[in-house]
């Protein structure tokens, strides 16, 4: 090994604290990057592969009744690779022990797997034989009820129980997320399940004779899908076309896409932050080292070492930090990425998980980290070039002590103790380093905020959605529209306190060329179960005329309160009607429209009717009430409001673990920044601090001058940190808000307190870690040494 390299390693060994701190920040950045990038790539590939292998739809349409002839007509269109009709109907199911839930019966061809939306078998096999009452059950649903082959499911079709024997447990790309509708934004596999039945059985049990109510299509590659979709919808018009949905808007796909998008943004946002911080740390470390070794650089030059070789010596240091951080970071990240992908495999139940180790990520990580470190190292080391060998031999001119602005305000300055004066002056004297510390702490606060705000935001979101916006206990859905009076009959169920009938109807709302599909909900006068609020949080009453529209829809459609929109219900052949938008309301999940029930009935031309009811029960009567509600005629499903809340809370456990790790990362980053800047501070001021020691200052007093400086900078960083953090949270929230729910930036005061405590905790920790550097100040040695 060359002597310069030997020197390099010994220098690193001497300053290993700084080296490790900088490498740790890179390590974290690279772990986050490689893990999320790895799982992002694996997920994207897996999904792509899964969709291809199992023929996931490109488009599907729903209509009142689609004849086999129409399916053939679509199949014959240019650009259509596969077209398949099927029946899909939601019905109630009796899961035993007083449990009634909704299942979606989906038809599959009797003898051969479907041409679109294929299924895979976890166990069992495809339909065979003539038996009609057989079914295949979606894996997650089967797991929720421990269903196995040979078990049976009792579906309630037209108030009659039909038992289906389970022939197999399956999965499908269409239902990676099995959600009933967009407004049920959580997946609860024990409340909703997919059950495949034979097409012939569906025909006879669900009506539709030989026809279907859905048409699923896969396009040829390179097809102008817009044009073909137009043609398909034209074909389906006479069949009571309701709506057409492209793959990008398919519910399960939207959800999983949001998940992948999140991985992708994770792969970019956090690592850039960490690597920037690492670059800053390295820059200041290197600058200090070079300024400390100015004379030695001069000696090397005097002995004939070239500029390039000396520059390389210092840049090598930065590169080593980058490699030491990046290699273990990327390897750990890659395996973490695999673990994450496997976790997704379990969550998503994908049979063809394409988990591959992309070793090029290792290369990307090292290059990325080297890139950041090289820029930082070179920016600092290039000062070497300017040093003339002869100049280097002369002692460096000490930094001029200047008066700072604050000193011109004697009222304040004169009241400050000498120790504080020294700390304050030093902050301004080493402006760049102070700025580095300040920016570092700002970044750390930002990182903490971005991590922690999720908790508050989700908490707020859940509270608002489930505890404030909705006040009912159960939502009862009838199997078909019933009279208003029938709905009120539910009051007679024992334990029910209050019943408010509702109409829920999928509609299409148009404003000029813009249209959106949503659910219109009719509520009774002075309804007590939905609490509508406007953007500012003020209560909003249901108007007698016009609709209340979720704020998201308002912006999607580009309407303003007072504007008129066209509403078309997906109720056989209903014409478009004009309705005024009364007000925009704030909604957290599932973007709906609300209107007066009576007016809605009139709008639909049906008078006052109900498709279900919201119910408030006496406390503690829950189980009996569900049973009793199910026993009422015409009741198809009963949904507990708090169920969604509880499901969501389960996900929170995972979130706490994630946030816990992130906080540790944040503390390491904050610590590394303060630790390194303190080491540099002490190195720069060794003479000054040793002089204080000579003057009789105690170790504690000397420590305090540095500590005060860090505390002051920490305090100064709080406000800008919160401002920058808030902006970052807004950006994150925007990324996280999918079409199904909005995440608001809510940060509780408690969270700010936690963040501030963390900031001061790592400042104290860094001070403590530097104790050795401080107490090691040898007065004689330091003052004698020219380099100081």
């Amino acid at each position: 090994m060359s002597k310069l390299n030997k020197m390099l390693f010994r220098e690193i060994k001497n300053g290993k604290g700084q080296f490790i701190a900088a490498a740790a920040v890179i390590f974290i950045g690279i772990v986050i990057f490689s893990a999320s990038y790895m799982s992002y790539r694996n997920l994207t590939n897996t999904l792509h592969f899964y969709y291809e292998e199992y023929k996931f739809l490109d488009y599907y349409a729903e209509a009142q009744y689609i004849s086999p002839a129409a399916v053939k007509e679509v199949q014959a269109l240019d650009g259509v690779k596969k077209a398949m009709g099927r029946i899909s109907v939601d019905v109630g199911a009796d899961m035993g022990v007083d449990k009634r839930i909704t299942v979606r019966l989906v038809s599959l061809p009797d003898n051969k797997p479907p041409a679109v939306n294929d299924i895979f078998f976890v166990s069992g096999r495809y339909f065979s034989g003539k038996l009609q009452n057989v079914c295949l059950v979606m894996q997650k649903f089967a797991e929720a009820y421990n269903m196995e082959e040979g078990d049976s499911i009792k579906a309630i079709i037209n108030n009659q129980i039909h038992e289906f024997k389970v022939d197999g447990i399956v999965g499908s790309p269409e239902f990676i997320y099995a959600m009933k509708s967009a407004s049920n934004f959580t997946v609860s596999n024990d409340e909703f399940g997919i059950v495949y039945i034979k097409e012939s059985a569906a025909h006879s049990l669900l009506g539709y004779e030989n026809g279907y109510n859905q048409l699923h299509v896969i396009f040829e590659e390179g097809t102008d899908t817009k044009a073909v979709i137009g043609k398909i919808e034209n074909i389906l018009k006479p069949y009571g076309f309701k709506n057409g949905i492209e793959r990008k808007d398919q519910l399960s796909h939207t959800m999983i896409n949001a998940e992948i998008k999140q991985q992708e943004s994770m792969a970019y946002m956090f690592p850039v932050l960490f690597l920037t911080v690492a670059a800053m740390v390295i820059y200041f470390m290197q600058r200090r080292l070079i300024s400390n070794q100015r004379t030695l650089i001069g000696v090397m030059k005097a002995f004939g070492y070239t500029n390039g070789r000396i520059l390389w010596h210092y840049v090598q240091n930065s590169l080593l930090i980058s490699v030491v951080g990046a290699i273990p970071g990327s390897i750990l990240g890659i395996y973490l990425g695999i673990a994450m992908t496997s976790m997704y495999k379990d969550v998503f139940t994908i049979p063809v998980m394409q988990i591959r180790i992309y070793w090029d990520i290792l290369f990307i990580c090292i290059s990325l980290s080297m890139g950041f470190c090289l820029v930082a190292g070179y920016s600092a080391a290039k000062r070497v070039l300017g040093i003339q060998p002869a100049q280097a031999m002369r002692a460096k001119v000490p930094k001029a002590g200047k008066r700072i602005l604050m000193e011109r305000i004697p009222l304040i300055w004169n009241r400050i103790s000498f120790g504080w004066k020294m700390s304050i002056r030093n902050i301004f004297r080493s402006r760049q380093r102070s700025l580095f510390t300040l920016v570092g702490v700002v970044f750390t606060i930002m990182f903490f905020m971005v991590t922690l705000f999720f908790l508050d935001a989700f908490n707020h979101f859940l509270t608002k959605q489930f505890l404030e916006f909705q006040r009912h206990d159960y939502k009862v859905v009838f199997s078909k529209p019933s009279s208003y009076q029938d709905a009120l009959e539910l009051t007679h169920v024992e334990g029910i306190k209050k019943v408010e009938p509702i109409i829920e109807m999928p509609v299409e709302i148009k404003n000029g060329w813009r249209k959106e599909g949503t659910t219109m909900i009719g509520v009774v006068d002075h309804n007590s179960f939905y609490q509508f609020i406007d953007e500012h949080g003020n209560g909003v009453e249901t108007p007698e005329k016009g609709i209340l529209m979720a704020h998201n829809l308002v912006s999607e459609l580009g309407v303003r309160p007072g504007d008129t929109v066209k509403v078309k219900a997906y109720l056989g052949g209903m014409e478009e009607k004009e309705v005024k938008v009364a007000e925009a309301i704030k909604q957290y999940a599932g973007f709906n429209c609300y209107m007066n029930l009576k007016e809605m009935g009139q709008l639909l031309g049906e008078g006052k009717f109900a498709t279900g009811a919201l119910v408030k029960a006496e406390r503690g009567a829950d189980d009996d009430i569900i049973k009793a509600l199910f026993e009422m005629p015409g009741v198809e499903t009963v949904e507990g409001r708090l169920k969604g809340y509880q499901d969501f809370m389960q996900y929170m456990d995972l979130m706490y673990a994630f946030i816990g790790i992130m906080i540790v990362f944040g503390i390491i980053m904050g610590f590394a920044i303060i630790f390194n800047s303190t080491v540099i501070n002490i190195m720069e001021r060794r003479r000054e601090l040793a002089s204080l020691k000579v003057l009789g200052y105690t170790r504690r007093e000397i420590e305090n001058t540095v500590f005060r400086e860090n505390m002051l900078l920490g305090m100064l960083a709080l406000v800008p940190g919160v401002i920058v953090g808030r902006a970052a949270c807004e950006a994150f929230a925007k990324q996280m808000s999918v079409e199904l729910f909005t995440l608001e930036v809510i940060i509780y005061p408690k969270t700010y307190m936690i963040i501030f405590v963390c900031v001061f905790a790592f400042i104290i920790l860094a001070q403590w870690a530097n104790k050795k550097n401080m107490s090691g100040l040898d007065m004689v040695e330091v003052l004698k040494n020219r380099e100081g």
Partner: protein, 236 residues
Amino acid sequence: MEKNVLFRLEDVTKEYQMGEVSVKALKPVTFEISKGELVVVLGPSGSGKSTLLNIMGGMDTATGGRIYFDGTDISAYNDRQLTVFRRSRIGFVFQFYNLMPSLTAKENVELATEISANALNIDEVLEQVGLKDRANHFPAQMSGGEQQRVAIARAVAKNPDVLMCDEPTGALDYTTGIKVLALLRHINRTTGKTLLVITHNQPICEMADRVIKMRSGNIVEITENKNPIDPSEIVW
């Protein structure tokens, strides 16, 4: 005689720009140094002697005039050429030793020999300066005299044509200083290497073959010393 000239300086000047004012550190100086000569440059601080040494050693460039080394004009050298020049022809010894604190004595010497084409045997050089037993010690474990001897070994081991010493005894006590001077003279006499010593310490002149006296950037006197004495006889 002409072929024995190692350095020839013709009207060499050096000006530093300090803000608005320019400081003339070196007014036109002209002189020659022969191969194998032991020359002492004497002058008080600020006389320009260090500037002169820096320029002759290729560490700094002159503002005007010409410097010939072994017949070649080095005043026109660019950075790269100066680096090569320093690397192969010059060995420096500094007042404050300037050893690499993280390298041992031997490694410090190796640091210099690694980039030199015709380096001497390091162990022999270390033995010559009397530090064979201290070869694996770090600078912090050595006395000032020992450190300066390492610095001399470092300069000598590259096998340069000239040894340039800037106040080599400046940081040492009298006895150690004399020992260091004796070592330098020994090297000069036994290897024939040209030795240039810069000092403000008048008695050191007595060991020189020639003394160049400087004041305020000028050479005030150049004297030949017919009978240079042994450093052990020097007293200050």
